[in-house]
Structure formats: structure tokens, C-alpha cells
Amino acid sequence: MTFNIIVLAKQVPDTRNVGKDAMKADGTVNRAALPAIFNPEDLNALEQALEIKDQYPGSKITVLTMGPGRAADILREGLFRGADDGVLLTDRAFAGADTLATSYALSMAIRKIGNFDIIISGRQAIDGDTAQVGPQVAEKLGIPQITYAEEILNIGNGKVRVKRRLENGVEIVESPLPAVVTVNGSARACRPRNAKLLQKYKHAKTITERQNENIDYIDIYSSRPYLNLTEWSVVDVDADVKQCGLSGSPTKVKKIENVVFQAKESKRLTDNDYDIEELVKELIENHMIG
């Protein structure tokens, strides 16, 4: 038994280590000042895919990402960890997409890849925190979705069984395949990059990268076809331009507020249970935790 798995992954600014230049004066994220990384929960998703492949050797994992040319890094990162293939969806017409336009574009690319058993993605990306893309992709494709997945317990006979991590406990659900599964950060961390795969795929490039960059090893792209990363445009995936990018995005940002936390007053607490309980209550009331 083997499975064709598509992992949806996004390149995001590393908002976990925010320095003072992280935001621009207008309140938008200063992407240039933040290192671009593999969205953390997408790595959890990749690990779930890799574990299916460990269990069913011969299964194929394709990492699909949408973004600018440099998002090809995400595909390489996937290959270094054990993915078999990568597709970069890139086109100026995709720029400025909200979650609706993004999921439309991704669903068109998934249709083009075709023949998939399961689509796995992270629950949400750390730059937007919407958690909408996975579910919307499922809707566009007309297939079931399982969100907040912590572990894919088993897959086979046209079904997938998943443990979900919910607010007050866990839930085990089953769905027919194909399905979309979005994975929580509480799932197992992704395995490290593999030293051999890293050396094997480090020269993998998209066609644009090969054209734009000064490439040292030109011959290898014909003798080693696996080094050619797939790159698709709007036309390649037969997408309707109007539904892509800014024109396909009904979301309008009304206002961005720059919130600066300032410590105005301090409170001294002892370590007795009463003080701690009161503090926890206060934090819950202020929605600081919950």
C-alpha cells in the first residue's frame, strides 16, 4: 500500500524572534528584517507525512508552496527532510492574495498535481494566524477536512483516522479519503534535515533560479532530473486570474493598530497559593491567558 501525499507549506517571516525592526512605521510586517522560515506547523504537517512514508515505503510526498521565487527554499527544506518532490506556485498575479484567493490557487495546483490520497498542512501560519487556508482548500476541492490534528493514527482502506487536540481534550475521528488534515503545533516535531538528502538536493533549483542566478553546475540539471524543481504560474494551473491575488481577495484591511505594551505599574506577589490563584484569575479576565 502506498499513498500520494501533498503537504501544503508556507514560507513565513520568523515572528517568534522579533527585533525592534520587525514592524514598519505603517504597522505592516517588515519582511526584510525577519528571517524567512518554514512555517512551524507546516513542519509538523510534513513530519506526519514522513511518518506515513516511513510506514508505507514507496509513498510519495509532494510539497506545494505559493510565494515569491525565494519560497523555493521551502521546497528544498522539504526535500532535505525526506519529501520526494516540490512545486512552487509563483506568479505576479498571485500577489496580495488573502486566504480565499490563496486557497483557490492552491486548489487549482492540487488539481493539476492530481491523484492524491491526502493533503496535510499546518493548522495556521505564524504571520497571519488565520487557520483558514487548509479548510478552504478542502471546500474548494469538495473533500472532507480534519482540523487540529495531533497525530494521524492510521491510514488505509480509503480511510484516515486522526487524533485531534481540542481545547478540553482529545478526539479521535475518521474520514474517508481523500481528505485535508491540518496539523497542530502540539504534534511531533519534524525530524532534522538528513545529511545525505541535504547533499543530494542542495543544488535543486526552479527554472527561474537557474535563469537568474549564476549557477556553477549547469550540466547536472539534465543528468539529474530530480534537481529541477517544478514552478507553476497562473496559466500552468489553469486558474482564473480574477480569482487570484488582490483581485480575488475580498478581504480589505480597514485599519492597523500598533499596540505597544508598556509596563506602567508593577505588582508584588508572594508565592502563596492565594496570590498565584488571584493572578491567574486576573490574567484570564484580561484575556492574557486562556
Binding site: R191, R193, N194, A195, K196, L198, Q199, K202, Y217, R224
Partner: protein, 574 residues
């Protein structure tokens, strides 16, 4: 996310050493593997890029998994039940992570599944792993036994065992016995050959065996009945799958508690002979030990790095008398000395690695084809340097690891004495480095002939011939003065032709050579990258000069007869 490779720019500096080009060329046989293996480099730049990228993975695993696990590993440790060892769960996690990353068998050829890395990047990994968890470095570094199998076992044994090592099976080297520690000639574990079965059997006890419940063991045993010395010893491979060895106890150690140190009982354990009978200790163990000493050097450097960083970070945070304690001369001097000793140790480690790389690779090539006369000279030259630098480096760096761990606690003050800070573990972990794989005293025994035959002095002359920028000239002059004192000391100590007198001062002489050599290495580093190394070069050479003067005074201000005051009177009733 901490990365123990990228946060230490010294690694890239040593990776870029000019000799690397030749090392990699030899190691990669002019990049012939690129045709056969999809992960083999196509040229020098490609190979260097691969080392850099793989080390970044090692640094990430160490920073994100192994170091965060280290405290728990120290507390939990391995357990023994029914003669079998179970690692602490976090140790197992570390092993799993490195296996998934295929970072086992780093130095082995690709035809066995290895990465074919030279010693330099391989030992960088060991250095980084040790900084994260010295006890784990022991377990991981034992993959080095694979090198010995590659070097001395026959092809069928290589094919049988090396791919298993690459897949992550663990190893041990079973040498020590209750009555054979430093003196391995006394090994008694018995190997008997059953003619009918054409099979070797091992019987006896081994003690203090690191990772003693490993999958694959290299065992030193007495194969020649009636013999009592080194010439009756052979080396064997014991495969855990064939059974016959149980773990009787796990030692309760002071440090490196995550690595199980075992007492093993061999009862009719089936084993395979490695290479030729009687060569076990004389040839194979000597080679194995040299590799292991390099591993301990790397372990020492890793501990020094960790101890220095812990102290530095504490000294910046900790405030007393209204300021951070790092601002007090008494504290910052300590910290600078720690950094200098750490940098000097690391420079020594990679210089030694380069020598080992050169001669081992040429030796390996000599098994495939005849070496050219130039290559033969090269092999001889580097083999001698490796032989001289390995004990010197192991001795110096392991002593520095101890000093740095000691000072790290001192910087922490009372807090450092508590179990709450990492420095106390580093102090315990460091303590074994100058004991196992030969105590410092035994490293001196191995190193002293390179004092008397002039290997060190010759190398010092070569360093002196290397140009430096004008602002470093005065440091170089200091080193020359130190070398003059060293030369004079050697003359004084060797001229009476009294073995005991030479032994008495041997450590002083070897240390002087160490200070001068490590000073030169840092000087060269500072010349290439003043910003990274100038301070350490200045601090270390000042320190080294003081030590050389101290040793010089000790020797010149005492008479040969004074030895009598140190000598035990064995006739006296104690």
C-alpha cells in the same frame, strides 16, 4: 533557535584552512564518487559547501535537541536490568535524531553508506556534540571504531559491519580489565579457537567499558595461550546478535553520567578475529587509541566552550556592588583566560586533525595504488606530526577543559556550587577527560620523545617562518623567546642522560612545547582573522609565556640531586 555551529564562527575559520584543499582532494580521490553517488561532491567548493551545510544540521540538532536534553540525561542516566542496558529516554531521543539525519558513519567511505567526511569536519561535529552533552559525545564518538574496522578488518567484515554502523548501530571498544588499565599488556580475557567449528570464543571480564552494551564491540583478548605480554593479544569483533556477553554492573560515576560505563562478562561469546593474530595491541589498539584521543580532544574543546559560555553569560547578568561582575578585573581576567584557552585548544584540535587527515588518507590511498615519492614523503611528514600532536593536544586540551570548568564555577560563585547551574555538571564531566584514553601523565610519556627527537622544535621553526602582519610581530618575538627557553630546558634535562631525571621534568618540557605551539597556532589565526582571534592570541601568549618561565625556573633553580626529596622511601615503614 540556538545553533551550535553557526553561533561559533571559529568553525568556518578552521574549515577554510589552506591545507583543506589538499585534504579534500585526496579524501575525495579527485571527486570520483560524484559519478556514483548522488550525495558526493563534484569539486572542492561543493565539498566545502556540503561540510558547512551538514555541520549546520549538527549544530541545529545539538542546540535544539541534545543540549536541552542534557540535564535530564545527567539526572536519569542509563539503567541495567537482566544484563542489558537501557539508555536514558532522552539519550535515545538524541540517537534517534542523529540517525534520522544519517549522521552516523561520518568518516566512512560512501560504498558502505558513510559520508566520507575528513577528520576536520567530523571532529567539528564531535566538538559541537560535546558542547551540548559530553556524555552523549562518548556514545556518538564510538562510531570511530568503524574506522578501525575499515582500516584493519577484511572486506567481508567491512561489508558486514560498516553498513550497520552507518545505520546507527552503536559501538564499544572493550580494552580495560580489572587488572589492566593503563597497562594493557596485562589483558587476560581469553580467546580460544575451536578448530572443528572454525570459531573463536571469548571468556573473561572487561571493566570500565564505555557503552558496554553496544551492538558491535571491538575486543582486545589474549589469543596466545601462555603469553603474558602485548605480543599475545589479538583484536576481535563481538556482535551482540550472537550473544554470550552480559553487563554485570553499570558504574556510578562522577560525570558523563549519560554514558553507561559497564562491567562485562564474556561467557563463550562467539567472536571474529580482526586482521592478524598478535597484532591486537601492538598495531590495532594503538591506532584505535589515537583516534579515540582525538575524540577526547574534541570532547575537551566542547566542554571548554560550554564552560566559557556559561561563565560569560552569568558574569554579564550577575550584578554585585552596583555593576555586572564581568566589569571587575578579577572576573574579566578569568573569562579572558578561559576564552583564550578554549580558542587555543580548538586551534590545536584542528591542526592535529589536518595532520591526521593527511597521513590517514595517504595511507588509505596506498592500499589502492602505489604512492608517488612526493606522496610518500608527505605521508611520513604528516604521520610524524600527527603522532607528536595527538598526545600533546589530548594532554593540553583536557587539562584546559578541567581548568575552564573549575573557573566557570568560580565565576558563578556560591550559585555555581549548587546543582542548579550547568557549570557543576561541566565540572564533573570535564574530570574524566584528562584520565581516560591515557592520563595526562601517559600522554607525556608518548609526547616526550618528540621533545627529545626535536619534532616539536622543528614544527615551531616552521611556524616561525610563517609571516605575520606588523602589529603581531611582537607576539611572534615573545614566542621566539619562549622557544629559546624551551630549547635550553631540553638541553639541560637531556644532557645528564639520566632517564629518571628526564621523566621527572617530562611534563614541564611537554607543556612548554604545548604553550609555544598553541601560541603560534593562535598567532596564525589572529593573522588571518584579527577580529576573531587577536585578543585570544595576546592573552594566551602572555599566559603561555608565564608558564614557560615558571617551568624554566623550576628546572634551572633546582639540582638533579633534589629529585631525592620527591622520591618515596619504600624501605621506610609507612
Amino acid at each position: 533557535m540556538p545553533n551550535f555551529y553557526t553561533d561559533t564562527p571559529q568553525f568556518k575559520h578552521y574549515l577554510q584552512h589552506p591545507l583543506m584543499k589538499r585534504i579534500v582532494e585526496l579524501r575525495e580521490r579527485n571527486y570520483a564518487d560524484a559519478e556514483k553517488y548522488d550525495y558526493a561532491p563534484m569539486d572542492f567548493e561543493d565539498a566545502m559547501d556540503s561540510y558547512d551545510k551538514v555541520l549546520e544540521v549538527v549544530g541545529e540538532i545539538c542546540g535544539e535537541i541534545i543540549e536541552p536534553n542534557s540535564e535530564e540525561v545527567d539526572h536519569t542516566g542509563p539503567t541495567l536490568s537482566n544484563g542489558r542496558v537501557t539508555y536514558a529516554p532522552q539519550t535515545q531521543d538524541n540517537i534517534d535524531a542523529l540517525n534520522k539525519a544519517e549522521l552516523m558513519g561520518m568518516g566512512l567511505p560512501r560504498r558502505f553508506g558513510g559520508l566520507n567526511f575528513p577528520m576536520v569536519p567530523y571532529m567539528m561535529s564531535a566538538d559541537i556534540v560535546s558542547r551540548a552533552d559530553a556524555s552523549f559525545q562518548n556514545i556518538w564518538m564510538l562510531q570511530d571504531c568503524g574506522e578501525t574496522i575499515y582500516e584493519f578488518a577484511d572486506e567481508s567484515q567491512r561489508e558486514k559491519y560498516l553498513p550497520r554502523i552507518v545505520k546507527g548501530q552503536t559501538m564499544s571498544m572493550d580494552l580495560t580489565e580489572p587488572d589492566a588499565g593503563s597497562d594493557l599488556q596485562a589483558v587476560m580475557l581469553k580467546a580460544t579457537y575451536n578448530e572443528a567449528e572454525k570459531q573463536w570464543y571469548l571468556n573473561g571480564v572487561k571493566r570500565f567499558i564505555t557503552n558496554g552494551d553496544a551492538d558491535i564491540h571491538l575486543v582486545l583478548a589474549r589469543s596466545e595461550e601462555g603469553t603474558k605480554d602485548a605480543r599475545g593479544l589479538s583484536m576481535f569483533i563481538y556482535d551482540k546478535n550472537s550473544g554470550g556477553v552480559t553487563v554485570r554492573r553499570i558504574e556510578n560515576k562522577m560525570g558523563i553520567k549519560g554514558a553507561p560505563t559497564c562491567e562485562l562478562v564474556f561467557k563463550n561469546a562467539k567472536a571474529e578475529l580482526v586482521g592478524t593474530r598478535r597484532m591486537g595491541l601492538i598495531k590495532y589498539v594503538m591506532s584505535l587509541m589515537n583516534g579515540a584521543r582525538l575524540g577526547i580532544m574534541a570532547q575537551s574543546v566542547g566542554i571548554s566552550e560550554a564552560a566559557t559560555r556559561e561563565a560569560y553569560n552569568y558574569a554579564i547578568e550577575r550584578r554585585q556592588f552596583g555593576k555586572a561582575i564581568i566589569e571587575f578585573p578579577a572576573v574579566y581576567e578569568m573569562l579572558s583566560n578561559m576564552r583564550a584557552k578554549t580558542d587555543a585548544s580548538r586551534s590545536m584540535l584542528y591542526e592535529t586533525c589536518r595532520f591526521v587527515d593527511m597521513y590517514k588518507t595517504l595511507e588509505d590511498i596506498s592500499r589502492e595504488r602505489k604512492l608517488t615519492p612526493e606522496e610518500k614523503d608527505e605521508l611520513k611528514y604528516y604521520s610524524r606530526l600527527a603522532d607528536a600532536f595527538t598526545p600533546l593536544g589530548k594532554g593540553m586540551t583536557s587539562e584546559y577543559a578541567n581548568q575552564n570548568a573549575y573557573d566557570s564555577i568560580q565565576v558563578h560563585g556560591g550559585s555555581g556550587f549548587m546543582k542548579d547551574y550547568k557549570c557543576e555538571r561541566l565540572y564533573r564531566d570535564a574530570r574524566i577527560t584528562n584520565i581516560y584514553e591515557g592520563t595526562t601523565q601517559l600522554q607525556v610519556v608518548a609526547a616526550i620523545r618528540h621533545v627529545t627527537t626535536g619534532t616539536y622544535l622543528q614544527r615551531i621553526r616552521e611556524y616561525e617562518a610563517m609571516p605575520v602582519s606588523p602589529e603581531l610581530e611582537s607576539l611572534k618575538r615573545t614566542l621566539s623567546k619562549m622557544a629559546q627557553m624551551y630549547e635550553k630546558l631540553v638541553e639541560i634535562v637531556t644532557s645528564p642522560k639520566d632517564e629518571e631525571y628526564l621523566d621527572f621534568h617530562a611534563r614541564r618540557l611537554v607543556e612548554c612545547a604545548g604553550h609555544i605551539i598553541m601560541g603560534h597556532l593562535l598567532l596564525q589565526d589572529a593573522n588571518a582573522d584579527p577580529e576573531m582571534f587577536r585578543r585570544s592570541a595576546e592573552v594566551y601568549i602572555h599566559y603561555g609565556q608565564t608558564e614557560v618561565i615558571k617551568n624554566y625556573n623550576f628546572v634551572t633553580k633546582s639540582r638533579i640531586e633534589d629529585m631525592a626529596y620527591y622520591k618515596p622511601d619504600l624501605n621506610e615503614n609507612a
